[in-house]
């Protein structure tokens, strides 16, 4: 991981993400940037920052781990 990177997790998938210098790095913006590639659904979601529940206006810092808690599978 480089100096300006964080980790984004959704379900089984993990990606190292860049936090560009000077860019807005709040949780909601970071998730939106990677939503398509990580297949993160829109709408109400639970987000953990370094394992703690946070609101999406919380700032993501280099080295942080952001997890979008994926819903449990409903079928079987």
């Amino acid at each position: 991981m480089s100096a300006r990177q964080a980790t984004l997790i959704s379900g089984a998938n993990i990606q190292e993400i860049d936090l560009p210098e000077g860019a807005i790095t709040i949780v909601g913006v970071v998730i939106a940037r990677y939503a398509t590639v990580m297949n993160i659904p829109d709408g109400k979601r639970r987000v953990l920052l370094n394992g703690k529940s946070v609101v999406e206006t919380t700032t993501v810092n280099p080295g942080d781990t952001v997890e979008v808690v994926r819903e449990a599978g409903s079928k079987g």
Partner: protein, 225 residues
């Protein structure tokens, strides 16, 4: 071991044969109860293992009892409900939740929370991904979080217990599934079972995604509730 299998559909049908093979070769005898109020229909053949049409619990138990005569396998052709949960899920049980709705997952989690010692292994999937959760209680204490932890969709389910649905509603509730996704959920549930029984479970939940080939175990103990 006292084993309860709730649901003998897409996941349950793949979980049961290897579980029975494993239990059959243990020194101690095991008693397995299979609960499912649903019936195998021709359309299930693309994902589910059965040799005749009929109630899923009865058909599956009949086949497995012949194959593994040392095991006591008991079918219960009914759905789990709030009225009968206390009869079927008891102290010391190992419960596999292979159901297709969050309402029954909530019922199982809440009922297990009322017991002193129990293991609940729950699997669920969408078309190509899913998760497995392991809820362990020991001597009145949560060793791992209940199924509702970080999962509001289970805590406040939008679906209903199949026992409360009409035949038409049940027919409409079905959505496309993939046999390989069911199989992976079943396999991860069995992995968790094996780990729990040898007492070295290093995670409380595992996500999987067939599209990327990823499986991610997570230890949710200690996270914000």
């Amino acid at each position: 071991m006292e084993i309860k299998i709730i649901g003998a559909g897409g996941i349950g049908t793949h979980l049961l044969p290897p579980l029975c093979r494993y239990l059959d070769n243990l020194p101690q005898r095991s008693h397995i109860v299979v609960l499912d109020g649903d019936r195998y229909e021709t359309k299930n053949a693309e994902r589910q293992e059965f040799d005749r049409l009929g109630n899923k619990a009865e058909v599956t138990s009949e086949v497995l009892a012949k194959r593994f005569p040392r095991l006591e396998i008991e079918p219960r052709p009914i759905y789990l409900t709030t009225e009968n949960a206390f009869v079927f899920i008891r102290e010391g049980d190992i419960v596999f939740s292979c159901v297709d709705n969050h309402a029954t997952r909530l019922l199982l989690s809440e009922h297990c929370a009322s017991l002193q010692s129990v293991v609940l292994i729950s699997g669920g999937n969408e078309y190509a991904d899913g998760n497995v959760q392991v809820y362990v209680r020991w001597e009145g204490r949560d060793i791992t979080p209940p199924l509702t932890h970080l999962h509001p969709e289970i805590a406040d389910p939008k679906d209903r217990n199949p026992d409360e649905m009409s035949c038409e509603e049940l027919a409409r509730a079905g959505s496309p599934q993939l046999i390989f996704t069911n199989l992976l959920a079943a396999s991860l549930m069995l992995n968790a079972f094996w780990l729990v029984t040898v007492k070295t479970l290093p995670y409380t939940e595992a996500y999987f995604d067939l599209l990327t080939g990823a499986v991610r175990p997570i230890n949710r103990n200690g996270e914000t509730r």
